[in-house]
């Protein structure tokens, strides 16, 4: 009887842990995403558009999930330092320079989280720790 109670109780605790863990990470995601929307509006939206649509052949759209997946670890550096080299996004080549953005690692992580989970993308959370690790390899 006692063991059964202990098992039941520990199971209950485990469930509680899982639920709280999950909700904690989803709270974190929401926080990054909401802040990211603001960073996006003030630093990215002018060029890339409110819906991430870009501008014809001048400015690439932010709707190419495959590009994001393939360049995930480079995004923080690309945004922080700007981009000079031509890129192919959504099968289209873009050659214009992207100006560097003076953003802190946390702002970069928020913006990346927002972009990668908007405009049809669903790539989950990018944390400030990840951004800091990625930026150690900036060229």
């Amino acid at each position: 009887m006692k063991t059964r109670l202990v098992i039941a109780l520990s199971f209950f605790l485990l469930v509680c842990f899982i639920i709280s863990c999950e909700s904690e990470s989803s709270v974190e995601f929401k926080r990054y995403y909401t802040e990211g929307a603001q960073v996006y509006a003030s630093h990215c939206q002018n060029c890339h558009g409110a819906r991430g649509e870009g501008l014809v052949s001048l400015i690439p759209p932010l709707t190419d999930s495959v590009y994001f997946k393939n360049n995930r670890s480079k995004l923080a550096c690309s945004i922080r330092q700007g981009m000079k080299d031509p890129v192919v996004v959504g099968g289209k080549a873009f050659a214009n320079v992207m100006p560097q953005q003076d953003l802190s690692p946390i702002e970069l992580a928020e913006a990346i989280t927002y972009i990668q989970n908007s405009f049809g993308n669903k790539l989950g959370l990018t944390t400030v720790e990840q951004v800091q690790a990625d930026m150690a390899d900036c060229k």
């Binding site: 002018n46 060029c47 558009g49 501008l55 014809v56 052949s57 001048l58 400015i59 214009n96 320079v97 100006p99």
Partner: protein
């Protein structure tokens, strides 16, 4: 009771007629009354400020003067191709205007570069190509910087408040200026605000339907 209903009907019809009146756009800039003698009678006429003579070069390397726009309603703005801040929004919004009127005659858009050193004719052509602009309904112009600034400040932007303290003044603020066939300023719209750009599109239609404009043609 019947009489009352009749009265109401008449009144509402009259009100409906009233609200159906065509909107007339204001005319901006200085104006003066000129009195002259026509057929022995003294007539007073209002003379409005108009866009003066100019000469620039477009993205095809063609020389464009005030005469090139004779008989056209047009929209003018000021930009440069490497501007990272408001220019992409202006271009995005101006594309809406371009798409709405590119196939109607007697309409043009002229975008003046305020950085002619960088924005050479080939640079303007490249920019136009990347925006998907073809043909002759949207010209990207360049010329002497002082000429561009002078015509912007003295003529196109007369409808814009001058109390701005922004660096470079209001030339940099992204206004779209609407000019009628008689080369008079009829409106200035914030080119970064989609709502104002929608209003511009509506006002161009109003202007196209204005009988005075048809005569001017």
């Amino acid at each position: 009771m019947k009489r009352l209903i009749f009265c109401l009907l008449v009144m509402s019809t009259w009100a409906a007629c009233k609200s159906g009146d065509k909107k007339v756009l204001p005319i901006y800039g200085n104006r003066q009354a000129v009195t002259k003698t026509v057929d022995g009678k003294t007539v007073t006429d209002t003379v409005y400020q108009t866009i003066p003579k100019f000469k620039f070069v477009n993205q095809y390397g063609d020389s464009i003067t005030n005469k090139s726009l004779d008989g056209d309603i047009y929209v003018a703005d000021f930009f440069f191709t490497t501007c990272p801040s408001i220019c992409p929004i202006m271009a995005r919004n101006m594309l809406k205007v371009y798409d709405a009127f590119k196939s109607t005659g007697n309409f043009k858009i002229i975008s003046h570069s305020i950085d002619p050193k960088h924005d050479s004719v080939p640079a303007l052509k490249k920019y136009a190509d990347k925006l998907g602009v073809t043909g002759n309904s949207w010209w990207f112009l360049q010329g002497k910087k002082e000429d561009t600034y002078a015509i912007a400040e003295k003529n196109y932007l007369v409808a814009v408040s001058k109390d701005s303290t922004a660096a470079g003044g209001y030339v940099h603020q992204g206004y779209f200026v609407l000019i009628d066939k008689q080369k008079r300023v009829r409106g200035a719209y914030d080119g970064t605000d989609p709502k104002q750009v929608d209003q511009l599109i509506a006002d161009i239609k109003t202007l196209q339907a204005d009988p005075a404009e048809t005569i001017a043609q």
